[in-house]
C-alpha cells in the first residue's frame, strides 16, 4: 500500500489502521509478540490499583511496551458513571506525564457492556473542557456519533457488536451512515471476531479498527494479530480501489466477440 495512506488523530499521524488492546493475554511476553505482529501504533491500556503485594522487580506493561515505543490509549473500561470515567482519565494523564489522548467508554450494563450514551456525553463535555483528546466508544447510532463529534471528540468509535462477542459488524448500514456523516476519524471498536470482520469494517470506509479479544482470545494470538494486520490492509485497499457494484446476474469476463464456434 502507498506509504502516504495515513490517518490523523488529534494531530498525530499513523500509518497502521489497526489499534489493539493489551488485555486478556496469558502473559506479557505474548502481549509483546502479538502487539508487534499486529503492527499497531496505538495500544489501549487500563488504569488499575497497584498491586500492593507485588514484587517491585517484576516487569510491568510500561516496562516491556513503553509509551516511547507505542502510543498509549488509556481507557475508562468498567466505568459505569461519567464521574468514574473522568477520574480515570485524570489519573491516566498524571500517570503518563501529561498525555492527553484517552479512550472514553462509559458502560450501561454488565451483560451487554453497551455504552451509556447519556453518561458518555456528560463525561465528554468535562474531558474536552479539561483539554483531553477523546476517542469515544459509542453505539452504532448515527445521531449519537454526530453529536459526540460536535461536542469535540477527536475520533468516534462505534461498536460492531458487544465487546468480546466476536459477532462481527451487526449493522453495516449504520456504520456506513456514521462514516458518511463524519468529519473526524471513525473507528470500529469492539465486536470483531476474525479477519474478515476487520476487512468488512475497512471496506465500509472506516478509518481504523480497535480490537482486543479477537486477537488475545484466539488459539494463536500472534498469528491472529498478523492476520488482522493483513485484513485491515486488504480491506483498506479494497475500499480505496472501489468495489464493483453487486448485480443479480452474470457478466462474462471473456470477450464475446471473436468466438469461432
Amino acid at each position: 500500500m502507498s506509504t502516504t495512506d495515513t490517518f490523523t488523530i488529534a494531530g498525530k499521524t499513523y500509518s497502521s489502521r489497526l489499534l489493539v488492546g493489551s488485555g486478556k493475554y496469558k502473559d506479557l511476553e505474548e502481549t509483546v509478540k502479538a502487539t508487534d505482529a499486529s503492527g499497531s501504533e496505538i495500544m489501549t491500556v487500563a488504569i488499575r490499583r497497584t498491586n500492593i503485594g507485588q514484587n517491585p522487580d517484576e516487569a510491568s506493561l510500561t516496562d516491556v511496551l513503553p509509551p516511547s515505543k507505542i502510543t498509549y490509549l488509556p481507557n475508562t473500561a468498567m466505568c459505569y458513571t461519567a464521574e468514574d470515567a473522568i477520574r480515570t482519565c485524570r489519573l491516566a494523564r498524571e500517570l503518563l506525564d501529561g498525555h492527553n489522548l484517552v479512550k472514553l467508554e462509559v458502560l450501561g450494563d454488565e451483560k451487554t457492556l453497551y455504552p451509556d450514551v447519556d453518561q458518555t456525553y456528560v463525561a465528554l463535555e468535562t474531558l474536552v473542557k479539561e483539554g483531553f483528546e477523546v476517542m469515544v466508544y459509542t453505539n452504532d447510532d448515527p445521531i449519537a456519533a454526530k453529536r459526540l463529534e460536535e461536542m469535540g471528540a477527536v475520533a468516534v468509535m462505534p461498536l460492531a457488536a458487544p465487546i468480546g462477542s466476536g459477532l462481527g459488524i451487526r449493522n453495516p448500514y449504520n456504520i456506513r451512515t456514521i462514516i458518511q456523516n463524519a468529519n473526524v476519524p471513525i473507528l470500529v471498536d469492539a465486536g470483531v471476531g476474525t479477519a474478515s470482520d476487520a476487512a468488512i469494517a475497512m471496506e465500509l470506509g472506516c478509518d481504523g479498527v480497535l480490537m482486543n479479544t479477537a486477537i488475545a482470545g484466539a488459539k494463536d494470538p500472534v498469528l491472529m494479530a498478523s492476520a488482522m494486520k493483513k485484513a485491515i490492509e486488504a480491506g483498506r485497499e479494497a475500499f480505496l480501489a472501489g468495489r464493483i457494484p453487486k448485480k443479480q446476474y452474470a457478466s462474462a469476463s471473456s470477450p464475446i466477440d471473436g468466438t469461432f464456434f
Binding site: 491500556v45 497497584t50 506493561l61 510500561t62 500517570l95
Partner: protein, 66 residues
C-alpha cells in the same frame, strides 16, 4: 493515624507524606499516579503533601486492557 490506601487501612505516623507512602510501598521505580480524596496529587508534590487522618488514597498504574 489511619489512612486508606487502595481500600486498605494503613496506620501511619503524623506528618506522613505521599513520598513516604511511595517508599513504604516500594513503588519508587514504578510508573504510578496518586489520588487523595478524589484529587490528583502531582508527582512533583509528593514530598510536601502530608496526609490527614482518614484520607482515602488511590495509587494506580497502567496494565493490559482492551
Amino acid at each position: 493515624m489511619n489512612i486508606f490506601v487502595n481500600g486498605e487501612s494503613h496506620d501511619v505516623s503524623q506528618n506522613f507524606t505521599a513520598e513516604d507512602l511511595v517508599i513504604k510501598l516500594e513503588l519508587q521505580n514504578a510508573k504510578i499516579a496518586m489520588e487523595v480524596n478524589l484529587e490528583i496529587i502531582p508527582r512533583s508534590q509528593y514530598s510536601n503533601h502530608t496526609f490527614q487522618e482518614g484520607d482515602k488514597i488511590e495509587i494506580v498504574r497502567a496494565i493490559g486492557g482492551g
